[in-house]
Amino acid sequence: MTDVHAPQSQSPSAETDGTDPFGINETEPAGTGGGVTAGPPASGVGWLRWLWRQLTSMRTALVLLFLLALGSVPGSVLPQQGSDPAAVQQYFTAHPALAPWLNHFGLFNVFAAPWFAAIYLLLFTSLVGCVVPRTFRLAGSARTPPPRAPRNLERLPHSGSYPSTLPPEAAVAVAASVLGGHRFRLRRPADSDSGHWVSAEKGYLREVGNLLFHLALLGVLVSIALGGLFGFKADKLLVEGTGFRDTRAAFDEFHPGRLVSGADLAPFSITLNSFSASYLESGQSRGQPAAFHARITYTATPGDAPHSFDLQVNHPLDVDSTKVYLIGHGYAPVFKVTTATGQVVYDQATPFIPANTGTFMSDGVVKVPDAAPAQLGFMGVFVPTAVRVGDTLESAFPAPDNPAVSLIGYAGDLGMNSGVPQSVYQLDTTAMRQLTAAPHALLPGQTWTLPGGNGKITFVGYKQWVSLAITYDPGQLPALICGMLALGGLLLSFLIRRRRVFVRAVPADSGLGSVVTIGGLARTDASGGFEDEFASLSAELAAADAAAVAPAQEPEPTNQSETGA
């Protein structure tokens, strides 16, 4: 991928005849111009060279950029395995014929798909193939002086002239010192055969910025890879009053990088003391959450003093570069199940999953494998602010203002010993029989005596739970630095223009003094300010020339040799 403006091509003839010393048309140099090159030569090396030229041409880079944009589209339209696996399952259920095909092409995991990787790796290869030679070219151009001044400065995009009372070489010397004062790089003729002139060039940082931008993008890619190899991401659901230690086994889900082992985890532990959520009580956005606070206690390493922390959204906990985020919350109704003989076989808070984030109606499952005479299972709905609508319970508000549960009971075999792993949020009722036709609603403290001598279940109350994301990403800081460098490079390349100013002096027709012509061109004048800069520079040159006359009629000529400062 080449520059926003293709690298400059300077054929020696263009440099001397002065019409187009920069290649103003900004066409691609023939050497890298994709598509315009001749057909592939027969030899194997020739093939490779041809392929490489095609790959690193701007045209290919453009096509790859389009493919990258186009390839990202399905990642936003279809549910993705990485961000929402449940939605992918739903899609498979809803479109049983189509989904396997989409899956075949990796469209449910676009950003990890081989074809997507192929696009961006080709793009970055193209970028490297373009940027590396340009870096060498830039290093080269930093050592070579500006080109010789063209003969016909009037033919440049910007030009002007002024008369001088100084002889030509002195007039040029004055101009050179003015341009040197503006930190232009100068070049003067080595001999006087080619006339009296000075070439000046400025703005090399533009190309530096452009290269920096592209290299920094490469750095971002490497940083992402770094995070993928050495980072990890884990999820943990925590009910009020419980805690966990940061070990692999403690997590509900653990996605380690390829080079991460369990031993790399920071040895901290966290206990959730309480969680509170507040919601807007009135207005158009009634029920919209206003604040979440998870009050936790943590110890950084075993044996350390415990610290308290108020974990909030946008306010993560940082323990030795491992960060803990509050990413979700919900209700965990507490149930107590007692057998007909009075034995307590279940007494715990059971996290329910919010099915509707607006009202926080939550679904959950209670499995009681130790119940007698048969195992018991319940499908439940937790309703934070219950209102009765006809025969069903609805939630009017997400806060627990009038909590209630509605349960459907099952007795039989939970199937937990079959060896097939089960989700704690799903009940397999194939070997169970429903206890009552209608769901049974309970308020806190109420007890439902189950039919058939299956004991009783009490809705004791509720607790809240939070879900935490625990992440470690060593690529984060490098990615940020590279991102900022890319931005800096972008600004340099857009704000700075590479421009050249030429001054030529010839003896005046009258024989006294000289006529000075100035010409200028900006190769890349993105912001369009060169016109004004050239105008003020011309005025300054004329003024300096006029001022030089006054003190000394015969100013001593300054250094006539080529300067490459």
């Binding site: 991928m1 926003v4 403006h5 293709a6 691609e28 315009v36 701007m58 045209r59 453009l62 950029l65 944009a69 990202s72 589209v73 990642g75 936003s76 990485g82 961000s83 910007h158 002007g160 002239s161 002024y162 008369p163 009372t165 992402i224 158009q284 956005s285 959450p289 604040a291 909030q312 959204v313 946008n314 306010h315 993560p316 985020y325 990413i327 994301a469 984060q476 940020l480 900022m484 931005l487 972008l490 600004l491 857009f494 005046a508 027709d509 009258s510 003094g513 006529v515 993105a526 016109e531 004004d532 050239f534 105008a535 003020s536 005025a539 004329a542 003024a543 006029a546 001022a547 006359v549």
Partner: protein
């Protein structure tokens, strides 16, 4: 913190006023379009406007009847104020009085011909005629009212006033109007006013009628100072890209006209098209607008990544909105590259520019409102 309903009302009222003042500005721009002074001859429209400024600057001064050495382009192509521009340049630039001998002695028909600095932008605006003056006045007053509306909304809700779609559109049209005013004055592109300000009025009118959302506090995920950084950058960039898109459409229209004239299919000097700048100048303006917006968009994406890391525990997660911000970025990058690639510059590049804005708009309207993701904050029901 409770919402200050009084201030929220003030904000709404000012926005209505803004809408009306902008409409008047559009009318005045249209008046200039219809009745203003013709600015240039129709023939060679594109070339004339591209070289026009330069020709004006190179207009020769000094010895009577002397022809400037570089004044190749005829003065006929120069815009109004060419004479003023030339005159202004003598005093300021050439320092004529200090080199009387020099001017006299070389003689031989040689004359001082220094390129002049441009007429100050505001003076040029003044010279552009009463319609432009009226339109600019309305624009400035409208922008002030718009600013008041945005700022009071911010004070009413005690936060940066771009927390939902309605507020976002309100703020971005304000940016577009301000940025366009700058572009218009800087590049003396009065003829574009009717198009850009017209588009601003349309967008603001839609915001006011379709997606109006009462002032309210934000969900916890948005309660962060990154809101003011990330969304501000995105608002600025969107406003600027908005201007670039309008310029791009005008370019395509002007370019089509130019091509038809060149092919002999259309009369030069025909109708409205003569009055908008030539395609070459529109091409430059579009490019300058995009390179102004692109770094801001880049910064906005980086700031968004930092915020995402704070709020969600990852800096990039291919959330639908993130994905489309990425697609938009890639498309504008493609535009910048296309402009430097043979066979792609011109029309093709401009189509990419418009594709970029389409993706941006799609992200703003369709993705944020209809596709569920972590960025579903639009508040549009």
């Amino acid at each position: 913190m409770t919402v200050n309903l009084g201030l929220a009302q003030v904000s709404s009222d000012f926005l209505i006023a803004t809408l009306m003042i902008y409409s008047l500005a559009v009318l005045a721009f249209a008046g200039d379009f219809a009745f203003g002074r013709p600015r240039r001859a129709a023939a060679g429209a594109a070339a004339a406007i591209a070289n026009g400024k330069r020709a004006a600057e190179l207009a020769t001064v000094g010895a009577a009847g002397a022809v400037g050495t570089a004044g190749a382009a005829g003065p006929g192509a120069a815009g109004p104020g060419a004479a003023d521009s030339g005159a202004a340049s003598v005093d300021g630039a050439s320092g004529g009085p200090s080199v009387p001998d020099a001017a006299a002695t070389p003689g031989g028909g040689r004359a001082v011909a220094l390129p002049a600095r441009q007429v100050p932008a505001l003076a040029a605006a003044w010279q552009a005629g009463p319609w432009v003056r009226i339109a600019l006045t309305f624009s400035v007053v409208g922008i002030l009212a718009h600013l008041v509306a945005v700022v009071t909304r911010g004070f009413a809700v005690h936060r940066a006033p771009w927390g939902n779609m309605y507020e976002f559109v309100t703020a971005l049209t304000c940016v577009a109007a301000m940025f366009f005013l700058y572009v218009m004055i800087r590049y003396r592109a009065w003829a574009l006013g009717v198009f850009v300000m017209g588009a601003v009025v349309a967008a603001l009118g839609l915001a006011e009628t379709v997606i109006y959302t009462a002032a309210g506090p934000l969900v916890p995920a948005l309660q962060s100072y990154w809101l003011s950084i990330h969304v501000t950058a995105m608002t600025l960039a969107t406003g600027i890209f908005f201007v670039a898109a309008v310029l791009g459409i005008l370019y395509l229209v002007a370019e089509r006209y130019r091509a038809r004239v060149a092919a002999g299919k259309a009369q030069p000097g025909n109708g409205l098209l003569v009055r908008i700048p030539g395609s070459a100048q529109l091409d430059k303006l579009t490019y300058r607008t995009v390179i102004f917006g692109f770094p801001i968009w880049t910064f906005g994406v980086i700031a968004g990544a930092i915020w995402a890391d704070q709020a969600w525990g990852r800096y990039w997660g291919w959330d639908p909105v993130e994905t489309w911000a990425f697609i938009t970025w890639v498309l504008y990058a493609a535009y910048l590259h296309a402009r430097a690639t043979a066979g792609w510059r011109g029309r093709a590049a401009h189509y990419i520019n418009l594709l970029g804005f389409t993706s941006l708009t799609f992200n703003m309207i369709v993705v944020q409102v209809f596709i569920t993701g972590m960025h579903s904050y639009a508040g549009v029901s």
